[in-house]
Amino acid sequence: MTIQMFFLAFFGGAAVWFGIVVFRTHSMVRSALALLFSQTAVGLMFLAMQAEFLGVLQIMMMATEMSVMAIFMVMFMMDPGGMGAMEMTHQKRLSLWAGGLGVVAALAAIWLANWGPAVAEVPSAAEQTADLGRELLGRSMFIFQSAGLTILTAMVAATMVAIAPQKERPE
């Protein structure tokens, strides 16, 4: 149990530290990959808490999507290599306040909410995946399908924003 606590704390610290690196580094690609490894550390925390499916899924999904974010950051942010060591942060006061409030809200949610009794025996990884599957097809079928619709709207919106319509394309 204590080993789990140790690894949980270690990966938590790693996640926070990578999170800080995201803002302290000047290079865009370093910042994107720092965020990637911060999410991987969160995935490892899931594994330390024996939620195997969520952990492995987090590790996989974040690796691919943060890499795609990296190319968009390199495309649109100035001096992506961080050679000029420019001060890229802006609206410092506003963001510090937002960060502080966020932490307070998270801590409040953790301590005040009623999570119910801690389960004595953690279900095995295979059962977790199967339970999640049954959950998707059973009680939260509605959430599952609405998520599908949300993803559809995301696709349509992204395409409309990013791709110039046919007639405006300079051939």
Partner: protein
Amino acid sequence: MTALAQYAILLGLTLGAVGFVFSLYALARAIGRSREEPGKDVPATAGTLSRDPVWVRYHAKYYGYALLFLAFDMEMAFMYPWAVVYREEGLVALLDMGVFLAILFLGLLYGWSQGALRRQE
């Protein structure tokens, strides 16, 4: 073997691989150090010395695909748990995922029709 023990083995494998690589580097350093010479540290471009750094805003032409990929990647997160319990749930699962995939296939068709699925020249 409990799940945590397996994760420990995987962590050990990772640290072992990193240790193996560093021992290989140490062996190579023991054989000899690399000598600093003019022009040797400039990235090689087929016989011409190009000193300028190349960390510029790279113009990727596949951003049409990348945006649709992000949405499809989210879809995959739902597919795995569904696949595991598919045979047990039977026809309901098939129809359910059929609707889900059809919705997302609509998104793909829309992107296709708007010209997202091409090299944005």
